[in-house]
Point group: C2
Chain length 402, copies 2
């Protein structure tokens, strides 16, 4: 039932311990749900309560600690022995007096690790300020170290099995994009397009279904295309609208995002003008990107490409992708941005989204790609262009012509 | 465009400031996306980067601080004046050296509030341990106080407009549940049911569409019904399966959850035995619950009801619901559990989910309800029973009979 061979989990754990040793961390508390899944297989929507894996340098298995009613899920979805699954009672959940970290601190003391060098994921959504404070109070003799992103960096280079899952996610992404765009017609509502996209993201293909993405489809239309992170509304599309769709296909929690910009009817002059600049820039980047370059060098190709045509962009161009949970499908490690010195290696995977936003419009055309042995290749195969919808024009009598 | 009148936002802000004063908090940093929305209207999927509202005791408006490319969203979706929207540059995003809290600390100093009593949402997903550490370093003369759940408690009693939105969410929930259950047939996959549910959650009704729920539909089947927080897989339903669906309809970020248990064909003896116990317990609670009682007293009605029949349940029975964002639709305030002394008042709203889980099966039948002037009423109107699917039996010749 595990999505990966146990040997693959053990390899990941070994690499994690190596990095722990490099940082002087003896015990690592893993609270990021993606990192928990990566090391153990654990997969459930239980991350809204405090939970973690404890990785101890000399122990062969992680310890899972979470809410008691999630313990069966840990037994079901991980390679962890039952005796390493430690549930805390329900009265710790969202209590005004008790905190799960009190319980966890006591366990750490009890098993003899309360006074060691303990790494915590300092900037993770699922390790709150209070969690840290309570843990420090419980474990006055521990030395706390910042273990943030330690496991995320292990995730940076994907295995062949992970790439295979991402290829499946890509097929799902293509299909969801196709069906979403098909529903973008004057008079239809944004929410109906979101519904179409979700339907196809989850039903997937006949061979495999889809998983929920860590970010919902982003779907601004009209002037709201200047605002990248808006979700859908009940707004009806109008003739002449531009619409941006950013979505990810997801398979076994592995994501492949893609973004496209669509117009209903003829695109505005400004979109017609900017599109080839964006597409040429993307093509240049995809043509030149290869192992050995840094992320910063990838950004420079793009920057110089659009600069020739008179444009600039401040935001980063992309980021490492893969296994994830809400609220983000980005891995928070390598970014395609100026000054990121990460050296590209085969099987690193990125969402390259060199979007441009202006005061009352924007354009997003993106590609997710994998670094190969001597270049890079995109995961999805979707027309890399502004997409005009519906895909036919009317003749003067109002009849469809192709 | 705002979902509520500006006067309603101002009333919420006033109540927030009153509670700040009670706690000796002069400046409150609001990082919970639901609290940000509640006070300002802000609505975008941007909470995966650090952002906040700053509420200052003597200032008439919140200040929004977030990533620069989300600033247009703050201008579009809130009642905040443009000069109170302060963007931070993109190089603060997921940087290995800079942190958005450095920027925010500097702003607080610059506007003269760096040395005041500052409340922070200590146990919120979106206020990490590192955020707190960096803020403390930047503002050595501030006094930090725990402002966790301060705004959540303001949210506890809903306005009539909020209740109206929840009634719309309830209609969407009913429809999604109906369509989801309809798709539960031997040979269909869990992911196809999830796809159906999502389609109808988002397309909503002709009058209004649906929003994304803060938790995805939970959909364990077969023996996995003993594990409440599992999401769907590619597993094909089989004759004799039990399936649990827990979902929420969502409208303008307001949630109404509902759970039902379904069997394909005749239910097992154990499900047939436990169902009337659960349903009777729910009916007793709904019949007796009224303003003036405490949450703990509601729990006792249930506990005594099932105890008569020989059952016990450890987990809490439910929690306050309303406006929310991933990863939780619960408000983290009042819980229907032993020792919760919250006194029920009209327009408090709860998800009452007295589920029972055993070693290899479980049952979930839930209702979301509102406290009325003299009792309570459910939001959804859905058969409160174990649901047998398909909704007909075969005669001996294999033909359908109703």
């Amino acid at each position: 039932m595990l999505p990966f061979d146990i040997l693959e989990y053990q390899k990941r754990l070994k690499e994690t311990k190596k990095r722990m040793a490099d940082k002087g961390i003896e015990v690592l508390l893993v609270t990021d749900p993606a990192n928990m899944n990566y090391l153990s297989g654990y997969d459930a929507w239980s991350f809204y309560v405090h939970q973690m894996l404890i990785i101890i340098d000399e122990e062969p298995q992680p310890i899972w600690i979470g809410r008691y009613l999630d313990a069966n899920g840990a037994k079901e979805t991980t390679w962890i022995y039952e005796e390493n699954v430690i549930p805390y009672p329900d009265y710790y959940v969202q209590s005004t007096t008790l905190h799960p970290m009190d319980f966890i601190g006591d366990i750490l003391t009890e098993i003899g690790h309360g006074n060691r060098s303990i790494g915590v994921e300092m900037d993770n959504y699922y390790f709150s300020a209070k969690a840290y404070e309570r843990l420090k109070t419980k474990l006055p003799n521990a030395t706390f170290k910042d273990g943030d992103l330690l496991v995320n960096y292990v995730r940076l280079i994907k295995s062949d099995q992970e790439i295979e899952y991402m290829k499946r996610a890509a097929k799902i992404a293509e299909q969801a994009m196709y069906k979403g765009i098909e529903s973008i017609q004057a008079g239809n509502r944004e929410c109906d397009t979101a519904a179409q996209i979700y339907y196809h993201m989850l039903s997937g293909t006949e061979e495999y279904g889809g998983d929920y993405p860590a970010i919902v489809p982003l779907l601004p239309s009209g002037e709201r295309t200047s605002i990248p992170h808006l979700t859908w509304t009940d707004r009806k599309f109008q003739e002449g609208d531009a619409v941006i769709i950013e979505l990810a296909g997801c398979y076994k929690r592995y994501h492949v995002p893609i973004a496209r910009t669509v117009t209903i009817g003829n695109p505005s002059d400004r979109l017609q003008q900017i599109t080839p600049i964006v597409v040429d820039g993307i093509n240049e980047v995809l043509h030149q990107t290869k192992p050995g370059m840094t992320c910063g060098e990838v950004e420079r190709i793009w920057r110089e490409s659009i600069k020739k045509r008179g444009y600039e962009k401040e935001a980063r161009l992309g980021y490492s992708i893969g296994l994830n949970y809400p609220p983000d499908w980005g891995e928070h490690t390598a970014s395609l941005r100026k000054d990121d010195d990460t050296v590209l290696k085969p099987n690193m995977t990125f969402h390259f989204i060199p979007a441009l936003w202006f005061d009352n419009y924007g354009i997003e055309i993106s590609e997710s790609f994998r670094i190969t042995e001597n270049g890079c290749e995109t995961f999805t195969n979707y027309p890399r262009d502004l997409i005009i919808q519906p895909p036919f024009r009317m003749n003067k009598q109002g009849g469809k012509i192709s």
